[in-house]
C-alpha cells in the first residue's frame, strides 16, 4: 500500500488525521467501526461535487487512544472541538454505523447552528435501542463468528475482508481498529439510552440511507431511528447490507447527491 501523508488537526488531547478530497459543498464524514472510508469508490464519486472531510477517530488506522477515553461520548466532545477548528459553512454531516450514532449525538447538541451544518445523513446507523431488554436490536458483532458476521454485514459476502491476503501489518491495524470499535460501543452496547430523548432537538433536514439486507441493524431499526428525528426521511438501497456505500456506490452517491443538493 502506498502511504499518503495525512494532514493532522491537533486538538486538546488528540491529533486527528484529516483527509480532504474534492471540491464543492463540504461534507464531514464520520466513519464506522470498519475504519476510514476516504479510499472507497463512493467517496471518489462524490468528490466531483463535494469537498469531503474525513477525520479518523482516535484508535483507528494505527492512531493512539487518548488515556482518558472510555466511550463514544469522549468522541462526541472531541469532534465538537474539531468542528470548532474547521471552517465549515452550510456543510453536510454524514456518519456511517457507529459514525452515524456520533453524527446524531453531535446534531442533537449543535442545534441553532444551521449556518455550520445544514443537513444530516445517517447511514445504517446505530445509537438507539428501540426494543426491550430481551430484544437484540443490534447484532452482537463482538460475539459472532467470522462467518456469521460476514453474513449479517454484506448482501454480497465477496465484499467482506479476506484475512488470508492481509499482511501482518494490515492484520494488526485491523485488530487495533477492533479495540477502538469496542471501546466506543461496548456498554451500553452500540447505543446511548439518553439519545432517543434528545433526537427531537435536531433542527436540520435529515436523511437515513439504509441497506435493505443489513443484518447488523435492520431497516426496521432504521425506521425507529427515523421516527425519533423530526421530519427525517429514509432511503433504502436494495442489494446492499450494512455498507450500502460499498456495495452500491453509484446508487448511494446518487441518493446522497440528490438530498445534499436539494
Amino acid at each position: 500500500m502506498t502511504s499518503v501523508e495525512k494532514p493532522v488537526v491537533s486538538l486538546r488531547g488528540a491529533d486527528i488525521p484529516l483527509v480532504r478530497s474534492g471540491s464543492g459543498r463540504q461534507v464531514l464524514v464520520l466513519h464506522g467501526g470498519d475504519g476510514p472510508v476516504s479510499h472507497l469508490p463512493f467517496a471518489t464519486a462524490l468528490s466531483g461535487d463535494f469537498e469531503l472531510l474525513h477525520p479518523t477517530h482516535p484508535g483507528f488506522d494505527g492512531s493512539p487512544i487518548p488515556e482518558h477515553f472510555d466511550g463514544l461520548q469522549d468522541l462526541v466532545f472531541l469532534y465538537l472541538d474539531l468542528i470548532d477548528s474547521l471552517d465549515l459553512r452550510d456543510a453536510v454531516l454524514m456518519g456511517f454505523a457507529m459514525g452515524g450514532w456520533l453524527a446524531a449525538e453531535i446534531a442533537s447538541i449543535m442545534t441553532g447552528r444551521t449556518a455550520l451544518f445544514s443537513k444530516l445523513v445517517l447511514v445504517d446507523s446505530v445509537g438507539i435501542k428501540p426494543g426491550g431488554p430481551m430484544d437484540r436490536d443490534i447484532a452482537d458483532v463482538f460475539a459472532m463468528s467470522e462467518k456469521e458476521l460476514l453474513k449479517a454485514t454484506w448482501h454480497d459476502q465477496s465484499y467482506g475482508p479476506d484475512l488470508t491476503v492481509m499482511t501482518d501489518e494490515q492484520l494488526q491495524l485491523l485488530a487495533a481498529d477492533k479495540v477502538a470499535h469496542g471501546l466506543y460501543t461496548w456498554e451500553p452496547y452500540m447505543h446511548n439510552p439518553k439519545l432517543r430523548h434528545r433526537l427531537h432537538r435536531i433542527d436540520i433536514p435529515t436523511l437515513l440511507i439504509w441497506g435493505e439486507n443489513d443484518g447488523i441493524v435492520t431497516p426496521q431499526y432504521g425506521e425507529a431511528l427515523r421516527d425519533l428525528i423530526p421530519g427525517a426521511s429514509m432511503s433504502v438501497i436494495s442489494d446492499a447490507g450494512h455498507n450500502p456505500h460499498v456495495e452500491q456506490p453509484g446508487e448511494f452517491a446518487r441518493i446522497f447527491g440528490h438530498f445534499a443538493a436539494g
Binding site: 460475539a143 467470522e146 484475512l163 501482518d168 494488526q172 491495524l173 485488530a175 470499535h181 469496542g182
Partner: protein, 410 residues
C-alpha cells in the same frame, strides 16, 4: 515449598465436540444435569477435604458459562472449605476483579472467609481469561489498570479500621467504605496476582505480592520470573524470597511410571476439551493488537478445533509432571532449577474423568514421597547457588510460543 491441590471442578459429560461451536460461553446449559452436578460438587469438596488431611494446601478458582469449571463463584466454595477443613491454607486464584463491578463486595467476601477459617485465606486477584469477557460483559481494554485499582480499594478496605473512607477512582467508586468483618490476618491476607509476562510480573513484584504463573512452561518461565526478580530487587533492595513465586502445572503421580502417565492422559482433558470459538478467545481489547492479529491469522484454519496435544509434548514443555514419585520429583526439580526457583507449586491433579480414587492415590503418593523432598529443596534455597545452577542450563529456544501456552495463561 508449599504445594496446592487444585481442580477446576469440571462437568466432563460433554456432547460430541462437533455438535457445538464453543465449550466456553455458549454451550447450552441443557447439557448440565443438576443431579449429576450435585454429585460432582460433593465429590470435589471431598477431594479438597482429603487434600487437607494429607497436609496439602488448597487452591480453587472460578469460571463462567462453561462446563470446564462448574464453579462460577469461588468464594462460595471457599466458604464451605473454610468450615470443613482444618489446616490447609485456602487459596483463591482468583477473584476476577477486572470483571467484577464491586471490589468492596470482594473485600467483604474475603474477610468473611479469612475470619471463618481463622486466618487461612490466601487471596488471589486475576484479570481472567479472554472467554470470561462475554459472560462478564465488561470491556477488557485496560483490564490490568482496573485490576490494580480494585486491588488498591480492596487492600485499603481490609486495612482501614477507623470508620468510612472515600474512594473515587478511574473505574470504581465507593464513598462510605467500612467493611464488617475485617480480616483475621493482619494487616491482611497474603495477596497473589497472576503474571503472564516479565512486564506484568514487575507490577506484582513492586507490591511484594506472590506472583503466580500458569503453564508458561520452559519457553516463557524465565522471562516472567526474571521480570519479577529484577523488579523486586529494584523495589525492595533485596533478593526475591523464594516464597514470592508460584507455578501451576498438571501433576500425576503413580506407583509405576505407567500409572502416572495414565493419570496424565486423564488430566489432559483440561486442555483437549477446551474448544473455544475465536470470537470468545480473542475479544477486542483483551490482547494487544500484535497478539490479537496472530490469533486472527491462526483462526483462519481449523477455527475452534479442540487443542490437540499429547502427554509427551506437555511434559517436554514443563506444563505437566508425571510418572513415579522419583520421576515427578526430578521433573519438578529440573524445572525449578531452570527457572531459578519458586516456593509454591500449584497442582492441577484432577481433571475431566479422573475419579476420586485415582486422584487421591496420586495425591497421596505426592504428599508422602515427593512433597517432603520439595520442602527440602526450598529450605536449602540460596539465591547465589541457584543462579549458578541456573546459568549452567541454557535457555530452551527451540519451543515456539504456541497457542497452547498463550491460551492457558491466566
Amino acid at each position: 515449598m508449599r504445594a496446592w491441590f487444585f481442580t477446576e471442578d469440571a462437568y466432563p459429560y460433554l456432547p460430541d465436540a462437533d455438535s457445538y461451536e464453543s465449550v466456553r460461553v455458549s454451550l447450552p446449559n441443557k447439557h448440565f444435569d443438576p443431579e449429576v452436578g450435585a454429585d460432582l460438587y460433593n465429590m470435589y469438596l471431598d477431594m479438597w477435604c482429603a487434600a487437607d488431611e494429607m497436609g496439602l494446601n488448597i487452591m480453587n478458582n472460578e469460571h463462567h458459562q462453561t462446563p470446564t469449571c462448574m464453579v462460577p463463584a469461588a468464594p462460595i466454595m471457599l466458604g464451605i472449605l473454610a468450615r470443613e477443613t482444618k489446616n490447609a491454607r485456602l487459596l483463591i486464584l482468583g477473584n476476577p476483579v477486572s470483571n467484577r463491578s464491586q471490589p468492596v463486595r470482594v473485600a467483604e467476601e474475603m474477610a468473611l472467609v479469612d475470619v471463618l477459617s481463622r486466618g487461612r485465606l490466601e487471596c488471589g486477584f486475576v484479570r481472567g481469561v479472554p472467554y470470561e469477557i462475554a459472560p462478564a460483559n465488561v470491556y477488557p481494554y485496560r483490564g490490568t489498570e482496573k485490576l490494580w485499582e480494585a486491588h488498591d480499594l480492596i487492600t485499603k478496605a481490609w486495612t482501614h479500621h477507623e470508620g468510612p473512607f472515600n474512594f473515587e477512582g478511574r473505574w470504581f467508586h465507593a464513598r462510605q467504605v467500612n467493611i464488617w468483618p475485617r480480616p483475621y490476618q493482619q494487616p491482611h491476607p497474603p495477596v497473589w496476582v497472576t503474571m503472564g509476562s516479565g512486564g506484568s510480573a514487575a507490577q506484582v513484584a513492586q507490591r511484594g505480592h506472590i506472583g503466580a504463573v500458569f503453564l508458561a512452561g520452559y519457553p516463557r518461565i524465565r522471562d516472567i520470573f526474571d521480570g519479577y526478580r529484577q523488579a523486586y530487587q529494584e523495589a525492595h533492595h533485596q533478593e526475591t524470597p523464594v516464597d514470592r513465586l508460584a507455578y501451576c502445572a498438571l501433576v500425576s503421580v503413580g506407583d509405576t511410571e505407567k500409572e502416572g502417565l495414565d493419570g496424565a492422559e486423564k488430566l489432559l482433558w483440561y486442555m483437549t476439551s477446551n474448544k473455544v470459538a475465536p470470537q470468545f478467545a480473542n475479544p477486542p481489547g483483551y490482547h494487544a493488537p500484535a497478539m490479537a492479529a496472530t490469533m486472527m491469522r491462526g483462526n483462519q484454519s481449523g477455527a475452534g478445533l479442540p487443542t490437540a496435544t499429547t502427554v509427551a509434548e506437555q511434559m517436554a514443555r514443563g506444563n505437566l509432571f508425571a510418572g513415579t514419585p522419583d520421576q515427578v520429583f526430578e521433573q519438578i526439580k529440573s524445572f525449578y532449577e531452570y527457572c531459578g526457583g519458586f516456593g509454591n507449586l500449584m497442582m492441577m491433579s484432577q481433571a475431566g474423568f479422573m475419579t476420586f480414587d485415582e486422584t487421591l492415590s496420586s495425591m497421596k503418593l505426592f504428599s508422602q514421597e515427593v512433597y517432603p523432598r520439595l520442602k527440602e529443596l526450598t529450605a536449602s534455597y540460596d539465591p547465589g547457588v541457584m543462579q549458578e545452577i541456573r546459568a549452567s542450563r541454557p535457555s530452551v529456544e527451540n519451543v515456539d510460543i504456541s497457542s497452547i501456552a498463550s491460551e492457558f495463561a491466566r
